[in-house]
Structures are given as C-alpha cells and as structure tokens.
Symmetry: C2
Subunit: 390 residues, 2 copies
C-alpha cells in the first residue's frame, strides 16, 4: 500500500537529517500526521489520539512509529518500516487523566540513549499538545527539547516529480469538484445539496483514479456570509442576486490541490465585478513572480503593486505552501506569502496563491494552486479564472 | 444563525462556571473548537489557526472570543457575543516563527486583571499546542496555569433536550448514510465510489434538514485491512468473500451520531459469523447497563462478562461520550467506557458503544450511539444490528 517507492521515503529522510544536523538535533519527534506520512507512508484516521514518528539523525537507525495498539496493523500495511520499528502503546494511555502517551515515548527515548540529547519537537503543531510537551520534558529532565516545527514542512515544501504527478491528479479532481460546485449554485437550491455534490466529485475522483478526503471540507460562504472566509454551508437556499465563495480542494493520496472561485447569481454589483478583475490581474502578477530565485515576499509584493494601483488593500497573507496534509489544514506550514517571509523559492515548490478580499458585507476569492517553475507559477488546474456569473 | 437560544448557551456557561469554581479556576481558556461552539455558538473551519474563548468565572463578565482578523465576522454571525467581546488578532501572528497568538491572549489576560490568577487551559486538547503553552506561561509568569482539559467535556457530556433533538436528526442522517454504504459495498465496485455515496448521504441529509460534516470521514477497512480500525478507502474494488467495516456518523449542526457495521460479501467465515453474534449479545448487555446510577466502567463490565463466556477478550476501551465535535474526533473526551472510569452515568449522556474486535488478519465492528435513560441505553438510530451478509 506504499504510495511511493521506499527509496523516495529514504531520500526524504536524508534531506530531513541534513536539516536536523544543521540545527544540531539528535532526534526529531514528528507528531504531525503529514510529517509522519511524508517520512514513512503512515496513513489512517488515527490522529485523534497521540502518535508520532521518532527520527534519529544517525542514518544507521531507521525511524520508529509509536502509536496506539489498535493502529499498529495500519502502520504495518501503510509504511515501509520493519515490524520492530512499529511500537504500540497500550490502550489505557488513551484520554487518560493519569498517564500520557508522551511518557511512553520518553521511555523509548531513554532506551534509545537520547535522554541527554537535543530533541526536536513540532512544538506549534496541532497534535503536539501542551500536555505532550509537559509530559515529555517532565520525563526527560536532562534532554534539551527544542522547537523543530518548521523542519519537515520546510523540506517537504519542495516536491519530487512523483509528488508533482500526485498534485496533477489532485488537480483533475478539483476541476471536477469545482464544476459540480459551480453547477450546483443555483437560486432556490439548498447549500447542503451542492456541498454533497462537491464531496461526491472529490471522493469518487475520475474513472482512472479515486479521490482522497481533502484536508478541509468545502467552504461555501454565501450572500452576506461572503464577508468572512471560513463558513461552511447550511440547508438554506442560494438566492438570486447573491454571491457565493467556493473554496475547495481535490485530493489524491493525501496531496491537496486547492482552488477558490466566486459565483454570482444574477447581475453582479459593480464593485464586485470591478474588484474581481483587479484580483485576477493581481493573481497573474503574483504567479509571474513565483519563480526560483525570488522570495516568498516578492510574490506578495508583485500582487500588492498591481492592486494598489486600483486602490485595493489586503492585509492578510496572500498564500502558503500546500500539498500533503491532513485536517485541519491543507497549508503545509512551510512558507507564507507575505512581507517578511524571505524564503527563497525553489523549483517544484507548490503554493496556494489565494487573494481573498473580505469587506464589511461582501467579499470574493479567486485562487490558484501553482508549481514554482523557471517560467513562473504554473497553475495545476484549468478552470475559468474570473468572477463566474450565472 | 445561532443553533440554540441564547438562554441555552447561558445555562451551559452557568454549569461550566460551577465546575470552574469547584476547581478554583478564575479564567478558563477554551481552545477546543467544540468547547468554543458549545459555549458561544462559534462555528467555522478556522480552527487551523489559533483561536479560543476566554471564560471568566465571574458571572458578570461574558466570554470573549479571540481569533484571526478574517474570522471575526464569522464570530459576529455565529455567536451570541456582543461585538466588543469579539477580539481579533492581526494576520502576522499566523504561522509566525517570532510571535504567537497566545502572547496576544496573554495581553488580554493582563488587561482583564487575571495575570496573578488561576487560569485553566485545555492542556491535552489538540488545538492547544506545546507552543501555545510555552507562550502563555512565558508571558504570564505570575499566573497559575492548570490543566482543565476535562472541564467542558465533562459538563457537555449531559445533553439538553434540544441537543437530544439534534442527535435524533443526526441519527436520521446516519441511517441514510449507512444504507448508502451497505448498498454500495458490492464486489467489483471501487471503494472510493461507495465512500462518495456515503459522503453525499451525510451532507445532503434529509428533505427536511441538511447534514453537516461529521468529525471523522468514513472509515472503510476492507478485506485484510479489517484487522485495524482506522483505514479509510482506496480506489481498489471490494472483493467477493471479503468483509468490510463501515464506521461513519451522521452530523447535524456539529452533533455527531456515529455507527459501525460490518458487511460480508458472500458466505462469512464461521469465526466471523460466530464472533458477530457474541458482539451483538455483548453490545446488548452494555446498552442494558447504560442507566443513571451505574458507572462508565460498569457498562464495560457488563459487556466483558457476556463475551468472556464465549472466550472473547477485548483490551481496548468499549466506547466514549460523543456528540458535539469537530475533526479529528467525534468522541467528546468526557468519559471512557473501560475499567477504572468511575464516572457516574446521568440521564441524557450520549455515548458511542463500539465493540470492535481486531485480530491478526480479520476484524469486525457493530456499534450503537445511545442515550442514557432510566430504562437503559436507547439507540438513536434504527438499523439492522448484526453482521450484514450480501
């Protein structure tokens, strides 16, 4: 069931260890399900309990999966790890007030000889809780525990050709799902029925390959709700004269290709139509700047320069690295497209450039998921890139 | 857009403050999206960034929502809070290596006069990260920060009649989704197409009301994969002679009603058929014991006594409180049905009793979501409760 050849996982491990060595980290504890999957292939909806992968910087020692007993078989079938590198904890660690899985991990750390070492943790990753941290540091008083939140996201921001191929498949799925969404936004139709059609397209995928669950459900703010980006849907009907923002992804084997569009039922207000044109122009400027050698903040600067001419200001970030992820986020946490992020762009980084404009009582989004290439940002998906009027 | 009357939220707040007072907590910081929703109504897929609700024990002070700027409008439309109790942070706090939203929260704590108080945090809740904790405690050296992970889950384990009505609606949805699932498991059909049908049924809901996204996607281990519970689906076909475990929920306005069934294509192996009968018998014993006055562990004991007669042993917990939740879990984290959990059951607690048996190369699950009543556990949903052979 491995999604990639073992050699590809080993290459990822090699690049991760380089980063670890640069930061003097002897052992990296990856709690993020995306980090776990990227390094070992592990895949299953078991991340509602504590689990992690231990990565020694020593290349002679393979990573170790640690998780709940009932999930060990999932680790056996989805990862390339040998059986003795899959270490389950007993069920009484689950949601216990008196014992914690990170204490079990601390025992493994001691047994591995790392209790006086420098240990990196994904400190600001959901899935590594406050209590994960107090349990680990409390049980390992002689270890130096450091923040390594960005290590894996930084390395995995640059995709292999095989990963790009997965993003392409995700793009085929998001094209279909967005088609279902645009077709489904119709006056009088319930929002939930359109959301259901989007899900169906996302999961059934194409005749050649099936879809995986995107890391975020369809976001579908409609009417006055378009002034804020993260509302989902209700069973109220879409209404004539109103706009609906659709932000969705296609997903193939955990690789997410997101896309946002805005649909207007009936004649759009002039400010919406005008702003949409500016947003598309700014998006094109941003894509143009997404080439190796430029920095993340230069993408944002290109966008800003273009839209400022038209008097539009956007204070939130313009996008982020995306691809392999689990709920609650399809952003990978690697880089942010905003002033101050001086990460140098590299070929095969995959970014979601999402110019969202949210005003007091209206808003719009038109976005693209792109691959950084020497010719600029290449959109993975092919879908009408403007305000869609029905 | 409030799901319940403001008076119901205020009653929840009153009960929460009782718990806080019992534990000497002056201020509770609720980072869990389910706690936030339960107390204020807040709903939106914005929990991929830091956000929380501050709950003063002082009943004269209303809770405060703190979140990202672009989500403040979502707080305005989905909560009962006054505008000046919705406090957004600026976008440069998002995924920053140099500043953290919990530092912003610490400033509000200081402004509110709580910087020498006893502050409860949901320490082991995903969404309260290690860095949330180090940022908060670092910025508030004179506060006493205590673990309050269980406060809201314990209070919300007991449902109001209005919440029970929502669970009923979720049950109508899970019946339909399970029907789609059972119909969709057929030899030669791709797993992803059946998963798509399940999603469609979950989200479109009924003609009377729409569905919300369950907190967990369909889990659909098939064939040899049934030896582990948390695999999702692939685009491989279902095969004759193999079993498939279906674990799904219906969801109405964030209230999840889960259910598991096992479908066998063709004649079941004797051990599977026999074990299924024992599991159903044990499930009935467990449901019988789910009445006020008994404890959580007594439900498990009733189950164990029944199945031990047949030589079956299950080491993992038998279930948990369920209802209002967000990804990654529909379990509420309140109580666990296992030895050692002496929580006294109360009327209108809602539990998922899930006897899952996972062996070396096969397994099965047959579960019910129940309401604790004086007559024992009442299943919300009505669906053929045995091994389903097609």
């Amino acid at each position: 069931m491995l999604a990639f050849a073992e050699s590809e996982y080993r290459e990822r491990l090699r690049r991760t260890r380089e980063q670890m060595a640069d930061r003097g980290i002897d052992l990296l504890l990856c709690s993020h399900p995306a980090s776990m999957c990227w390094l070992t292939g592990y895949d299953g909806w078991s991340f509602y309990v504590h689990q992690l992968v231990m990565v020694p910087v020593d290349a002679s020692r393979d990573p170790i999966w640690v998780g709940r007993g009932m999930d060990a078989n999932a680790a056996r079938v989805t990862t390339w790890l040998a059986d003795d590198h899959i270490i389950p904890y007993s069920d009484d660690y689950v949601h216990s007030a008196t014992k914690h899985p990170l204490e079990f991990v601390a025992d493994l750390v001691r047994q591995g000889g790392w209790d006086r070492s420098r240990i990196g943790v994904e400190l600001d990753t959901f899935y590594y809780t406050g209590r994960s941290h107090t349990s680990l540091t409390g049980a390992l008083p002689n270890a130096t525990v450091v923040d390594a939140t960005k290590v894996v996201p930084t390395v995995k921001a640059i995709k292999s050709d095989n990963e790009i191929a997965f993003m392409e498949r995700a793009a085929r799925i998001v094209e279909r799902a967005m088609r279902a969404a645009v077709d489904g936004v119709a006056a009088g139709r319930r929002q939930c029925d359109t959301a259901a059609d989007i899900f169906h397209a996302q999961i059934s995928g194409t005749a050649e390959f099936g879809g995986d669950y995107p890391a975020i459900v369809p976001m579908l703010p409609s009417g006055p709700g378009t002034n804020t980006p993260h509302l989902t849907w209700s069973d109220a009907p879409f209404r004539n004269g109103e706009a609906t923002i659709i932000e969705i992804a296609g997903c193939y084997k955990r690789y997410n290709c997101p896309m946002a569009r805005t649909v207007q039922l009936g004649k759009p207000p002039q400010k919406l139509a005008d702003t949409a044109k500016v947003v598309v122009e700014g998006l094109h400027s941003a894509m143009e700047a997404a080439r190796p050698g430029n920095t993340a903040e230069q993408i944002e600067a290109a966008w800003r320069t273009t839209i400022e001419k038209h008097g539009i200001i956007k204070e939130s970030r313009l996008g982020y690295s995306t691809g392999l992820n689990y709920p609650p986020d399809w952003g990978e946490g690697g880089l942010s497209i905003r002033p101050g992020d001086t990460t140098e762009l590299q070929e095969n980084m995959t970014l979601h450039i999402i110019p969202g404009i949210w005003m007091d009582d209206w808003g719009l989004e038109i976005s693209e998921c792109i691959q950084v290439t020497p010719q600029g940002g290449r959109a993975f998906a092919d879908f009408e890139r403007n305000l869609i009027v029905k």
